[in-house]
Structures are given as C-alpha cells and as structure tokens.
Amino acid sequence: MELLENINPKLYRKCEEREITPDEEDDSVVDPFDSREVFDLIRSINDPEHPLTLEELNVVEQSLIEVDNANNEVNVKFTPTIPHCSMATLIGLSIRVQLLRSLPSRFKVSVAITPGTHNSEDAVNKQLADKERVAAATENSHLIEVINQCISNH
C-alpha cells in the first residue's frame, strides 16, 4: 500500500451552523451573496487522500474567502496541509469545479493557494488561473472522476 503524504493531518472542529438573522428571514429583503454562502458550497469537499473534508483539515476557511458582490468577484484562498503537498492542484481544481457548477455565471472566480503555504504556489496558482488549462483538465474523464468523488456527498 502506498504511504500517504500526510499520515497524521491536524484536525479542526467544524464551525457552527449559521445563525439566521431577522433580515434573512424577511422575504422582501434581498440577501447579498456573501463569503459564508461560498464557504457552505466548498466546506464539504473531500480531501483526495483522507476521509475528511477540506473544512475539517482547515484547507478552506470562511475568513479566506472574499466576495465582492457589486463587482461579481469571488476569491478563494486554500491552505494545503503541508508545503509540498502534491494534491494541491487537484484540491484547487475541485474547488474551482464545484464553484463553476454552483455559482451564478456572472461571478469571476479565482482560486489560489494561501500565500506562503506551498513550495510551488506560483506554478499551481498559474494553472488554476488559466481557464483553458482548467477546461482541458476537466475534459479528461479520469481526472473529472477523481474530482467528482471529492465533490460528491453534497
């Protein structure tokens, strides 16, 4: 059996369920799209190696998600569990695909590694930012199968 890269990952507690404010209950008030909504879309994505979610591994956190509703921008930073994690591109791609499938098309989405947390962050970020590379990768049936497995359980 192959040795896992990160045999003993650090676990984090899931954050609490969202508190519903009176404004949110009011149907006549339009809810602005916010970072919590984006977090809810990606928190349960599975890590490719361990039976744990990206939230449980602290790979994604709500505080590292920026939403600019007025300018239709969503920026997600994710933190690989170890600096030489070879799954970083796959994790980034899973986040991108999940958001591509769930967010309204008006949003420009960027997914990048939290600065300073990975040895090859520039190279990985460049790939994740290249929509042609992302599109071609997701046409690869083997790869999309792996990604779908990470994203499923929603």
């Binding site: 290249d130 042609e132 590379r133 599109a135 046409e139």
Partner: protein
C-alpha cells in the same frame, strides 16, 4: 480620449452554440464566418439578405472542445484545432463540408492552427510545448515539415507573417518566438525570442506590413513590437543577421483581466481586444507618432459586450469596421464600428 470615441453597433447576435465559444474566423472574402467551441461543433454562418444565418453545423469532427478554426487564404479549406489532439481540415469539394484530412502527432490539446499566406504551409501548436509546421501537398496530403520544441511551456497561439513564411508563436512561458526555414539546410529554426510579458501570452496579431506585432497577455497588457532589420538606421544590433524585435509600446491600465485575443485590422489599422472583463476595446494609433515609440489611445470601450469573458475578436478582412466576437456566454456577435 477615454474610450468613448466612435460607435460600436451590435449588428446581430448569433445563437446556437452550447457552452463556451472559443473562436471565430472570417472567411477571406468576408461573407462567411466560422465559429467553434466547447460543444465540439463548428458553425458556419453566411449572409441571407441583410441578416446572418447559420448555414452548416459540423459535428462529429472532433471528440473534444474545438479551440480554433482558420480559413485558408484561398478560402477553400477550413482547419480546426481541438483538445482531442488532432487538427482537421475541411473542404466543400463534394458540395458539402467534409473532413478530408486529419493531422495527428501532438501529444495533447492542440490550441491553435494557422495557414501561411503562400498557401503551402500550415502551423499548429499544443500544450505539449511544441509548434508543428506542415507542408501542404496536393490531394489533401499534409506532411510534417518540422517539430519545434523551443518553448518551455504550453503554446497558446500561432500566427503567420502577412507576407512571408515566418511564423510567430505565443506561450504560457510568457514569451513570443519567431521561426523560419533556414535556406541552407531546409531546417526550421527559432530566429527570435521576445521577452517582456509577465505572464502567459495568449494571442498575437501582425499589422498589415508585417513589421509590427501586437501581443496580449494574462498580465493585463497589450504590447506592440517593432521589427528592426540588419543595417537599420536606429543603430539596433542585429546578431546573426536576423531582424530583431523590440517592445516599443505597452498598453497597461486598460484591461482589468486576462486579454484573450487581439486583432489588428489591415484596412483601418485599429486594434481590437477580447478581455476577461467582458469588454471589447478598440485602440487607435496616434497620428504621426514616432515609429520607435508609438502611442496608442483607447479609442472605444464596449462594456458588457458579452455577459461573460470575451474569448476572441476578429476584424472582417473585406468590410472595414465589421468585427466578430465570441464569449463564454455561448454567443457570437457581429458588430459594426464607425468613427
């Protein structure tokens, strides 16, 4: 000038493609248009009275996304480059469009295909980092003349010089390279590498003379390059007796996202860009600007030209001011620019 000069009027929106439309290419005679995309089809559009209508849909030619289409200079052939690693060549000799040749060899996605003006050569490029030059023999036969491994990353675009058999390529390695056939041994060689962009170079366009090149990039800029020949009066050194290309103008601060495509009109001299911020921009060179330090202004900016990223733009080669564009929003649009 702040991008509000002239008028870019939407003539028609062409619907039909499903998903992202990557590219559009005008037929050399200007009355036909081909588009391609994620839905693995090529759609051919032609004039029907005052409107444009879909004439043909070419499906089953490719197994994956079709990234670029290009009409041959004679107008009788259409080449299509696909993520399925092949390039197909279509013609209408039988009365209907048929794929009569398939060029194989690239290891993965083919990103661009271009025909040389002379009509005897075709070029393709791929994520496999190589640029291939193909010779066109008679009877739908294509022979690989060269496999050029000069780039260190994914090659996004190939473009031929408007008059000579000189090839330019743009890459994820942030550089532009020029290639030509060495007369002494008939080998294709890299004769220049243009370094200035700070990220992937997505596309290129020569001006009508072939002495200037415009490039666009993920670094949100457009750069204008000027050719200096051996013996030039500006005193620029030309090692190896080959022309040298220098970046003489950088247009920065205009595009807020990746610039995916650029088109330089050989009739009007206007430059159009396709950007990830959904805007089509038109740049005009300032009159009497110094050729060694030219000035371009943002003449017109069409905000929300599409509802998503604009992937390609092309000026009509025959009708001045007529422009086609495509987008992630699945639409192809035809515009008329008037000064």
């Amino acid at each position: 000038m702040s991008g509000t000069m002239g008028k870019l009027e939407l003539i028609q929106t062409l619907l039909g493609h499903e998903g992202r439309v990557w590219d559009v290419c005008w037929h050399p005679q200007g009355n036909t248009l081909a588009s391609c995309g994620e839905d693995k089809t090529i759609r051919i559009w032609g004039r029907e009275g005052s409107k444009w209508a879909n004439k043909t849909i070419l499906a089953d030619g490719h197994q994956r996304t079709i990234r670029e289409v290009a009409w041959s200079p004679c107008g009788n052939y259409l080449a299509s480059a696909s993520f399925d690693a092949t390039t197909a060549v279509w013609d209408k000799k039988s009365g209907q469009f048929e794929c009569n040749a398939t060029l194989e060899g690239h290891e993965n996605e083919v990103k661009s295909v271009a025909w040389a003006k002379s009509g005897h050569l075709l070029a393709t490029c791929s994520r496999d980092k190589s640029v291939w030059v193909w010779e066109v023999a008679d009877d739908d036969e294509y022979e690989c003349a060269a496999v050029l491994n000069a780039h260190t990353q994914d090659v996004k675009k190939v473009v031929w010089h408007p008059h000579l058999d000189i090839l330019a390529s743009a890459s994820y390695d942030n550089t532009i390279k020029f290639f030509k056939e060495d007369v002494s041994d008939n080998d294709w060689i890299c004769i220049a590498t243009l370094v200035s962009h700070e990220s992937t170079v997505w596309s290129l366009a020569f001006d009508s003379t072939g002495t200037r090149l415009a490039s666009c990039s993920d670094d949100h800029t457009v750069k204008i390059w000027q050719q200096y020949l051996p013996g030039n009066t500006e005193g620029i050194m030309t090692p190896g007796n080959e022309p040298v290309w220098k970046c003489v103008c950088t247009l920065s601060g205009y595009h807020s996202r990746t610039v995916y495509d650029i088109s330089w009109c050989h009739n009007t001299g206007l430059i159009a860009t396709a950007c990830g911020d959904d805007i089509i921009r038109i740049f005009k060179e300032v009159e009497d600007s110094d050729p060694n330090e030219p000035s371009f202004v943002l003449y017109h900016a069409c905000h929300g030209a599409h509802t998503q990223d604009v992937n390609s733009v092309m000026w009509n080669p025959a009708v001045p001011g007529l422009l086609a564009s495509t987008s992630d929003d699945a639409e192809v649009k035809i515009w008329q620019f008037t000064d």
